[in-house]
Amino acid sequence: MNLTHSKLGFGINRSRAGIIVVVALLAILFIIGIAVSDRFGTSRNLLNIYEQSTGLALVSLGQTLAVLTGGIDLSVGSVISLVSMLTSGLISGDQSMVIPVVIGVLALGLAIGAINGGVIIVMGVHPLIVTLGTGAIIQGIALLYGLGPIGKVPKGFDYFAYGRLPGGISFGATFTMLLFLLSAFLLARTKAGRYIYATGDDPHAATLMGLPTTRIIMLVYMLTGFCSALTGVYLVSRFGVGQPYTGANYTLASITPVVVGGTMLAGGRGGVIGTLLGVYLVSLLNNLLNFLGVSTHLQLVAQGLVIIAAVSVYVEKRRIA
């Protein structure tokens, strides 16, 4: 019995709680939106919200996995920036370079993740500090590669960001949603997925039970690196060029949907579907505030308050740094 839980009375501490809370918030915002403006509920606007969620969704998917193991990855923003620079810089407008470069940068994302995971395991340092350090190093490398926007990509590269499926549905957002569904399936149905939860719930117990915790941590950070790299490629597709600080805001932004979606920073609880809904919530909230004519400045306040509201409802099973 969780003492804190019963004492506080209204704390929610069940695995599905995140999804329930986010769905409720989404519904409330949606109703407000329809009441406020006729154009809010149009399919055009909703498809727009859907499309704009892609970048945040991609990076948050990886972040969720790191957080599920009780860790965190603060290098995602730098990886996004470096990958975006390399993608447009190396392709440099050459159609034939697109496939090798994209494969190369995705492999780089995996490799950076392997370094993060390796340092966390071998050095025994908290992931927060390790990824803060590697994040600084990677940002420095991105700046050494170029101090401003660099390279260009051929026509058609923007399909990832702006491509449409039949019915005007965004290709990138749908691809991302399928990636989330696949991840949710793998987390629930594979051994590795269950081990991720076990490692996050109690790493010591998981090791004693003979679970391959070091390999799980390695795997998780590699996947986080991969998702960040994919986000970098997406941003090049969207903006047409790589920039040295293009990912900077994503580091902390990627945490919001994760925690709003009910994944506990202490690890072991939550899931990717909650995160996806958390991303839609952020996207919907920004769109709604635009309709309400709220200045972009106060939109920040609203986002901060949503984080506070959401995390105050959940009860963390224990505090972490």
């Binding site: 965190i72 340092v119 340092v125 908290h126 190093i137 050494l144 920073l265 400045h297 901060g304």
Partner: protein, 326 residues
Amino acid sequence: MAVAKAEDGLNRSAARKSFGMGEIVKRYGIYLFLVLAILVTTAISPAFVSGSNITNMLMQLAPLAVVVIGQTFVILVRGLDLSVASVMATAAVIATSFSGQDGAALTVLFASIAMGAATGLANGLLVTKRNVSPFLATLATMIVLQGFRFAATQGAPSGNVPPIFRLLGSGKFYGVPYNLMVMLVMAAIFAVLLHKAAFGRRVFITGGNPVTARLVGISADRVIIACYMICGGLAALAGLLLSGFVGVVDNFVGRGFELDSIVAAVMGGVALSGGRGTIPGALAGAAILVVLSNAVVMIGMPVQLQIIVKGVVIIVAASLYVRTAR
């Protein structure tokens, strides 16, 4: 007999502990590293120890060190404060919001510190009463403060910092920067509070083991809230010093200080797991950050290497402490 043997073993392991390499690295490693960094840089570039460069580094150190003192209190109680940079920028904006004359200086000072302490109170309440992780609680207050600041300034702060803050932030008294003096006074006050006063012992007990703290009758929640308020207040003060140093106020005065202050404290031996660390150690950590950033430029390496060196040092320093703690 067996007892004597066991005691002997205990004594010996204690003796080994206090004189072993691990213990030396743990206690004095940071100072040795600071001296080493200074010596190596001087050997490569003698201009590093010129009077003007030293003054320059000390003036850069002062605002960071003030933040680091506060960050140390928070980390000691197993916390983390990401809102310090936002508090600094907000204090800087407050500094320009009044007449810009010295008459407004006291108002600015009190308003800023009150704002910082209030932010700390919000952080502390979220962490203790709602059990929100410090990372998230302070991330949220950081964003909220940033939004309010943007809304209040419409994105572009204007107005003047009262001249007395310009003097405190960038002036010198017989070659000694005023901001360094402010920093030293703060360091002395808070080092005494932490290492000599009853409050400090409560901080260490709370951070070392909150359950023990409760058992010996310490209100852990109150100690934790106090630490966040100290951190917020000091961050506000640092924001005023920095605005006086830079001279121009924008919405991002203090950007990067949240991470730098955490890094400096961790390098200085303040354990993220709480309950271990000292103010002098944390200040040495801050000094190393400033020395290394300066050294990169003095040695003639590309400026981008500053951030890479910083990253390497964080990881190496943190892993050294993990090793010696085992």
